[in-house]
């Protein structure tokens, strides 16, 4: 097991290294000249050339890369070209806010998703199982951006009981801050819950059919005890790995929801950087997003390995 963990960790480090080179290269070949963007439409070629020399843009790409990578490792992420603020301040602020939203959402997804899945799985074939299946079926099919727009229109536009943006700073009061979070959390949770509950459900069904459970029942244990103490542990395995991945998704992959709710999280910062060709901000955000995503995937793999007895005890293949 330890060997597996170390191997995976090395892979993640290698991945991040490769990603950093890739990200840097991508920003080098993207169309649009930074100096041109900073100086604006009226800059003379001479002005642009001076600024390029100043920014060190004429050095070979690997020199620029090493300079950038070195600075990053020291925590210096450079200055945002479009916002004239240090990038690290912008990024850590965005990370904090994304983490907040992700944290609240994942807890709700975990609790509600697993509970729904177990409830449905245990009552397989019943009316409530079918009802929950129907709902999750429809839920999976709804595009997230459409859903967000509809609930904004409903709750903020029509009923006027909730605000239409996702973020209010804490200085304006905790209740106000919470009110703003309700709709984005609701959108994100409903987007992820169906998958988790369906997975849990089929997992529960499989486990409930195994010899192990039949034996426990035969021993006379109550159904509740059977579920809680024996079935759950094994059934939750796939769901937990999905949840780990979902944390990554919530941190960096909910760009569309962040855009619609004007939530200043990591995804939106990234889109902003791409749209404005703000290369320092773009490079730093991409690195942070891929780091979080890679860590989330790694945790999912490790959790799966840890909880899956085959791998834990050294037998079986790489998951």
């Amino acid at each position: 097991m330890l060997e597996y963990v170390i191997k995976r960790l090395c892979y993640v480090v290698a991945t991040l290294l490769v990603m950093s080179v890739l990200i840097f290269l991508i920003t080098q070949i993207m169309p649009g000249n930074i100096a041109h963007l900073i100086l604006g439409d009226f800059a003379s070629p001479a002005d642009i050339a001076t600024l390029e020399a100043q920014l060190g843009l004429n050095d070979p790409w690997y020199v620029q890369y090493l300079r950038w990578a070195g600075a990053m490792l020291h925590g210096d992420m450079g200055m945002s070209l479009s916002m004239n603020q240090p990038v690290s301040g912008i990024i850590w602020g965005a990370v904090g806010r994304s983490a907040l939203l992700a944290g609240i959402s994942i807890v709700l997804v975990a609790i509600l998703g697993i509970w729904l899945g177990v409830y449905a799985g245990v009552r397989r074939g019943s009316k409530s199982d079918h009802a929950i299946s129907m709902i999750t079926y429809v839920n999976i099919a709804i595009p997230e951006f459409f859903w967000a727009i509809v609930i904004i229109m409903l709750f903020a536009g029509y009923l006027r009981i909730l605000p239409a943006t996702g973020y209010a700073s804490l200085d304006e009061g905790v209740w106000n801050w919470m009110r703003h979070l309700i709709l984005p959390v609701f959108t994100l949770v409903t987007g992820l819950i169906a998958h988790v509950s369906r997975l849990t459900r089929s997992s529960v069904i499989d486990v409930m059919n195994t010899q192990y459970i039949r034996a426990a029942r035969a021993r006379g244990l109550s159904e509740k005890r059977v579920i809680r103490e024996h079935a759950l542990r094994n059934a939750l395995l796939p769901a937990i790995t999905v949840l780990a991945i979902d944390i990554g998704v919530l941190m960096g992959g909910v760009v569309v929801a962040e855009t619609i709710f004007s939530y200043p999280g990591l995804g939106r910062t990234l889109i902003y950087a791409i749209q404005h060709m703000d290369l320092p901000l773009l490079q730093a955000s991409m690195m942070v997003v891929t780091f979080v995503y890679a860590m989330a995937n790694l945790s999912a793999d490790l959790l799966y390995a840890f909880l899956n007895p085959k791998i834990r005890y050294g037998r079986g293949r790489d998951a």
């Binding site: 604006g40 002005d47 509970w115 004007s262 749209q275």
Partner: protein, 502 residues
Amino acid sequence: MKTLFRIASLLTAATLPLAVAPTAAAAPKTELVATINSNVNFFYPGRGVAAEDYNFGVLVYNGLVGINEKLELVPELATSWTSDSAAKEWTFKLREGVTFSDGKPFEAADVVHTFALLADPALASRARSTAEMVDHIETPDPHTVKFVLKEPYGAWPSMLIERQLKIVPDGHTAEQLMKQPVGTGPFMLDSYTPGDRLVVKKNPRYWEKGLPRLDRVTLRIMPEDAAKIAALSAGDVDILWNVPLESIQELKGMSNIHVDEAATSTWDGFVLNNQLKPFDDVRVRRAFQKAVDKKKLVQFALFGAGAPTHTPVAPNSPAFNSALTFTPDIAGAKKLLAEAGYPDGFAITLNVPVGRPTRERAAVALQQMLKDAGIRVKLERVPYSRWGATIAGKAPFYMDGYLARPTLDTATYPWYHSSGSWNKQMWHFKSERIDRVLDEARLATDPAKQVALYKTFQEYAVEDVPGVVMYTINFATAYPDSLKGYRTHPYSWMDLRHAHFE
């Protein structure tokens, strides 16, 4: 599991009413919240490039000369001005008793410093060309400045209202001002969270007694239109700055909300690159001009919040040539195209900037109109990050638009004169008779003669057709009835000195 569910539902039931209930209604307040669309990126006004920067500049700084909602010049940091007979040397008397927000008194040296910064190529200010019109500045005493221009320029005071020409204190570099802005304006910077909000507070040293009447102004950064409207109707914000044109009617229908719509000379148009085929032939350009139904464009692109026009000259200017009309003529357009060698029309790509909804809508309508004339238009949207490098001045056919300019000369020369700065980045247009008439108009000191010359210019412009100016766009802000002392400004900045709640 069941207990968990019970606990969860109890918690929800307990907190939901609290969470959903709106925050308590405030007593008559002295703090105002306005929405802006994106970050304020430049605290030093000389480098401002976007409307958000200009809003900040107006709150925190002053210029020598101001312009009110009726577009009249008013004294600001300068109390009066005169020129010599050649309109080459301009003497401005400066207001006494003014201090910057850090306590430093305002004097002539600050004006000199401001212009020195603006002229610095490294700062790349948009107003650099204005600063370069000045040969040198004399300061006979601490409260008088004398601009000695390189060329005579009758409208020099009008130039000084420009957004980048706010006065900054001597001894502060642009970098310092970018971090810590120091101005003579009614407010001063309190805090800034990029992506969230910018807060300014009352400047206790402001020179207009009794103003501003507000203690604090918060600019909330809200790019989403639906969010802005919801916030305004919920009372979370007080001023919705830059009402999306499609929502003007909806907001007008709301009780307690007042929509203040102002006509401006901000214009949209489409650019035909005169150096590229097929637009090097004036007949093709005239054909495009004939095919366009500007009244319909105003409806489609602006939802009626604007007016058709043919020139950047402001519609309420005495120099506006109202004799020139714009009726579409598809048959005439086809005839011109046939004459130019395109009897069956041709196919062409129209570039549209992403994030400019009026131009995006105009492009869709334009595509249909040109189709009737045999021109098959393919729309291609390009984000602004790529615009400068690939489109401006290079693509044959694209949508463009510009904010209002303070003088007749600055509204026309850069676009229509063959040496004009915008011309060289846009349609590469050259017309000798237009060059002549613009040069003459610039030097004219008799207002009547100026008017006549600019009217002639407009006649030439619709015949020589560099591209087509389609319409002017209204600008609107919305606010609750309880807000007094504030009007929408045609230059789209928010003048909040007299604003207060009742």
